[in-house]
Symmetry: C2
Subunit: 399 residues, 2 copies
């Protein structure tokens, strides 16, 4: 594997920063872009990362210490086309990993302003990347972070991107129908449709990662050096379910599945996400090829996950209850769910598979920052409803 | 049928203006919004409407003369949320007909600026309408103009919006997969996905019109009063295929099918479009219901249509050749095409069906403005290629 130059859009985020470390440890050269929008938006919700994180300039210095070469960083906004053009002309990357999107379903449902900002940031940002790739680096591989949430929860198996169907006696291979469950998820569907088209008409190559929710605080290379930590959001707007459970656990707040708690999704730990993304980077598709990877380790329902966190937390001496909350979302709470995820396994993905160990690492890391979670305890309970109301969810009763 | 208050977004356009006359003649009350972006963008391409059109203030005076009541007009931009909010609070319409979108495939493929403007104008405008409806007029019926081009040309029959499929032994009713052929068409797909979601989570009601290309200069109520004329675009960016053929015919310019000319689409004359849209307005869906009407009279290939125009033109004494052009688009030129269109027929749509008569009316109207087409002859040949190049298409040879 010869070293590649990888441009990471959104390098300051939960996935962006560890991916830069992971790829650099494998000999790749890293260029990063961020506009720090995530830091600002989390502050706007009166929240913060449970684990303190360094500013990007300090991260760059650390990176250089570790790997003996610079991380080239641009503080820049990909919604500005000129900026994207300049960066691609300067750097000519072999691969672009695109995390430069606003990733929150509740935020996108907060109000028309947040919905539109999510659309503009995500959809226009991606269109700029596609146009600049066409004109400057048409052979570069775009690895775009989508979400399993693009598919929704249909009553049939979920294919990876495309599926062959027979309808009224004729056959075709068509994009799998999408039924996204929030405006955020919809922006990812819009991106997917735009990327498929760009690959078709401009011969670009892209891997669309439909990723399930990621959990855990770390990957091996971070060891116990907290200067290397990545952000960890636990509030109801920016945190995802397993990470939120872990944060609730360490302050002995009840774990809070939404509604009946039988919603199923595909989950994976941070280290598996890094492994999968690296496989995507190191195995580019053909020119003109658009491919989809459904990226998760296994399918679990959110009550099963709460019980896992409870079990591991009790082992750490924590007193943990599970109290379901009124579901602020509109979603099916009981449903069929069977998505394919063969493509990454075929390329060599080895799931780490030890969820309890991962949860223990996460909770041990969070226990050191218990006070930061306690201070912001009031942001744990969701108050953005899919209906448009702002009203805190109430507990439904204890389990 | 009791009179309704109908808000027409994009009332100054090709469909908006005749629809206001048609609905008013049936006793409905009309409110209109336009930002005149279409007039500006056509000028930007150095083109104009073949038939001169009045300014909106004069149109409003004429309207009042004809119907004895005001057309309430707002010069406003729906990309501005405050504007949409104000208009809905002021007017509380029973129905909103949404034509307020940039409707050109070539324009959206011109460059990143035009692609992004098409996305912002169309997608953000529609999101603003949906949010304002939720908060101000949640029972109002949204009639949204989409396009048959959202579906692309799959190798199976095209359903109206949803279809039942069986996959690996399980069944579900899912949105029909979309394979749009330009960034413009993609914005309509994005809108469709956003509207489906808004109906589901907010209980809005909407009719999504997947309309084929419309042709012809007039509807009956316009008689021969040219002050009532609607715009008629014939350039390669803003004109659609049959209207362009008619404009070419009257100046004895060769008719210009793209590529092999065997691309099939569903077409309809302007009077059928008005009839169908009126059926949609006067037969609202249930609260929370999202429905799709595939709106066209019949499926034809673009060579068949050229020959029809040639035949009618020759009857008018015009010398007309057909010269195919290099196809500036990336599209299948030979393909299966069998879209359903039952919903409107079931609600009473009676296709006028006499294409030759419609083409004759159109060419007679255009003949009076032959000079305006001749003056802008240079905009007839497309120079925006789907590849990103700017290069005029060459003739492939005579038929």
């Amino acid at each position: 594997m010869s070293p590649m130059k990888v441009l990471i859009l959104g390098i300051d985020g939960y996935l962006g920063w560890p991916l830069s470390l992971h790829l650099a440890s494998r000999g790749h050269h890293i260029v990063g872009v961020d506009n720090f929008l995530r830091r600002r938006l989390v502050k706007e919700e009166n929240s913060w990362s449970a684990i303190p994180i360094l500013d990007m300039d300090k991260r760059c210095l650390l990176f250089e210490d570790m790997f003996g070469e610079k991380l080239w960083f641009y503080e820049s906004d990909i919604v500005n086309y000129q900026a994207v053009e300049t960066i691609l002309k300067d750097t000519k990357p072999d691969a672009i990993v695109h995390f430069g999107e606003i990733p929150s379903a509740p935020y996108s449902m907060r109000d028309v302003y947040a919905c539109n900002l999510t659309h503009e940031n995500n959809v226009i940002g991606t269109l700029n990347v596609l146009h600049a790739m066409r004109d400057i680096v048409p052979n570069t591989h775009l690895i775009k972070l989508g979400t399993m949430g693009e598919y929704g929860t249909p009553n049939i198996d979920i294919a990876e991107g495309y599926f062959e169907i027979e309808y009224r006696g004729r056959k075709d291979i068509l994009p799998f129908p999408k039924q996204a469950g929030s405006f955020y998820h919809l922006t990812k569907v819009h991106d997917t449709n735009n990327i498929i088209f760009a690959c078709k008409v401009w011969g670009l190559r892209s891997t669309d990662i439909q990723q399930g929710p990621v959990y855990s605080t770390k990957i091996d290379i971070m060891k116990n050096d907290e200067r290397l930590a990545t952000r960890f959001d636990f509030d109801a707007v920016w945190g995802t379910v397993v990470n939120r459970y872990c944060a609730e656990a360490v302050i002995e707040h009840p774990l809070t599945p939404f509604g009946k708690g039988s919603q199923k999704r595909g989950f994976l730990p941070l280290r598996d996400s890094m492994q999968c993304l690296t496989i995507a980077v190191e195995n580019p598709p053909e020119k003109g090829e658009y491919r989809t990877f459904n990226q998760f380790e296994g399918v679990y329902d959110v009550t099963y996950l709460a019980k896992k966190v409870q079990k591991v937390g009790r082992r750490l001496g924590l007193k943990i209850n599970i109290n379901n909350l009124e579901n602020p979302r509109k979603e099916r709470e009981e449903h069929y769910y069977n998505p394919d995820h063969k493509n990454l396994l075929q390329l060599g993905y080895k799931p780490t598979g030890d969820m309890e160990k991962e949860l223990e690492i996460t909770m041990r890391d969070l226990l050191r920052h218990k006070d930061r979670i306690l201070t912001k305890k009031n942001v744990l309970i969701p108050d953005i409803r899919w209906s448009g109301e702002r009203k805190k969810s109430k507990f439904l009763g204890e389990k």
